[in-house]
Symmetry: C2
Subunit: 321 residues, 2 copies
């Protein structure tokens, strides 16, 4: 939620002249995206988002992310479509940063997803998985199972200052997940960060999916588990099984889960909760002096993990078969 890199107007005008999108009419920094700087850009040809990639995004990953958005867009997924410049390049450089222009998506970022919207999100997620099947590039998930232990090492010594017993709890959880993590489930391109603020709605319909900067190759059902964590818990920590059932049913209207995926759902949800617990915990313990962005509460995911630990089967998520 910040503009990290300031773009002087003359540099912007020169940059936009490299594209066939007409002259700049307006240009405003917007409070969207935590990792990058985003500007709303209106030209004679239409509305766009200009993104400057900040240090947390590896430059070598950008062809994967931009290529994926282009791939998905051309297959009917409403996501930002990177605009290629006059030389055919989607990735440029502006104000010392890698930069890209993509189409602007209408729609509202919502705060409280209804069950109906969870259903729409489930459908959109499955469509994204289907559309990604033939995407030729690959990107390993740096924040999947093998990445969790290094995160725990970083945080373990100080974890109990955040909540008593947190280090031991997280350690035990990770041991358990390492022993039982599924490997032979359907895999493909996943979004991996499909939180409520990365999905736009018009009314009850999904009008756009943004922020593909964690997208990678991993288990498809793990992406569903990330969404169940992000969309189906209420503010008071309770799990809303009506929303969960709607989300899974929406997903299955497009792509039916295989029996092995259904069986693995509780463990995948535990893994997804642990992943966000760990990254939030590391961020929480490493807030830079004078930081603009308040870190997110890691304990929210500690509480979600406790719910998943008690789940016996997919039936606890509203999936009965």
């Amino acid at each position: 939620m910040a503009v990290y890199t300031d773009v002087p107007e003359d540099a912007l005008v020169a940059f936009v002249e490299g594209y066939d999108i007409g002259a700049v009419l307006s240009f405003k920094g917007i409070a969207e995206g935590v990792e990058n700087t985003n500007y709303f850009l209106h030209t004679e040809r239409g509305s766009y988002i200009l993104t400057l990639y900040e240090k947390r995004v590896r430059e070598g990953d950008l062809p994967f992310f931009l290529g994926l958005m282009e791939h998905l867009s051309t297959r009917g997924i409403v996501c930002p479509l990177p605009v290629r410049d006059r030389r055919g390049e989607a990735l440029g450089r502006l104000a010392g940063r890698p930069a890209a222009i993509a189409t602007f998506l209408e729609g509202l970022s919502i705060r409280r997803p209804t069950a109906k919207r969870c259903g729409a999100l489930g459908e959109a997620l499955a469509r994204l998985h289907e559309a990604g099947r033939d995407f030729p590039l690959r990107r390993e998930n740096a924040l999947s199972l093998p990445g969790w232990r290094p995160l725990l090492h970083q945080a373990a010594a100080q974890a109990d200052t955040v909540s008593p017993g947190l280090a031991a709890r997280t350690q035990a959880e990770l041991d358990r997940l390492e022993a039982s993590w599924p490997t032979d489930l359907p895999a493909g391109v996943i979004h991996a960060d499909l939180f409520v603020d990365n999905v736009f709605f018009i009314g009850e319909d999904v009008s756009g999916i943004i922020d593909f900067y964690f997208a990678c190759n991993d288990l498809l059902a793990y992406d569903l588990a990330i969404c169940l964590n992000a969309w189906c818990f209420e503010q008071d920590g309770s799990y809303n099984v009506t929303k969960s059932r709607a989300l899974i049913a929406g997903y299955e209207r497009v792509r039916r889960l295989e029996p092995a995926e259904v069986a693995a759902l509780p463990i995948l949800c535990r893994g997804a909760a642990l992943r966000f617990l760990l990254t939030r915990l590391v961020d929480w313990l490493n807030v830079p002096e004078g930081a603009f962005v308040r870190p997110k509460d890691p304990l929210e995911y500690d509480r979600k993990l406790a719910f998943h630990r008690r789940a016996a089967s997919a039936a606890d998520y509203g999936l009965d078969r």
Copy 2:
């Protein structure tokens, strides 16, 4: 440059339903304006800016500001036009704050004004002064001469921690200004904060003037002096008399300065510099713990003041007559 107040999507939708501007299509917090929270709002009917007024703006002043923008808009000044809701009100309430919707202005906020743009700004300023002549509401300038001594009292004890001798320098300047401040010059509605970031350009033309939240009744030529301070100094502190001449000439293409205004120009420029020196100094010495907004450098205006102190007449500003 911050979004201080978060607006949940359902509250926004309900608020916009009170206006005849169609349904909301998109809504994004923008990094514009230091005092208030601004959102870019796109509806079926067009593009708007939604402003939530934060604590630094007095609620009782809002009818003056909104009324002025409406008054100027209908007289051909390109400034945000407040949209009245279905009950005919320009001022509403959203997320616990006074809130207003105004038309979106195209154009770019520039960093480095050229002489040509200074000329365009001068013309626009004079047009604003002419258009404001018959505006019926009044608002005293709380930051004019009588307001400066209380600011100095707040800052005097600590001023020398910012720069040695600053307290005595500022004190002497204020004494001098109090003894010689002009009172019988043409007065009217002034913008009073027409800095570079409050003026939009398309190419070399002014496409819009924003941020009327310091507008008030005061000497018209004092507004010109504020602009000379804000637009005509280079980064290295030198005064660019070419820009200054262009700005004044642009102003005079629309409204010719009276002899008494010409004679008073150096003292008005000193006053304008002292006003921003004092408010910046108070802000500098009172940065709240954990503040998001970095205060602006007061010494920039201490240096500008030194230039004005050496000016013998309006000729030093490129106005020879």
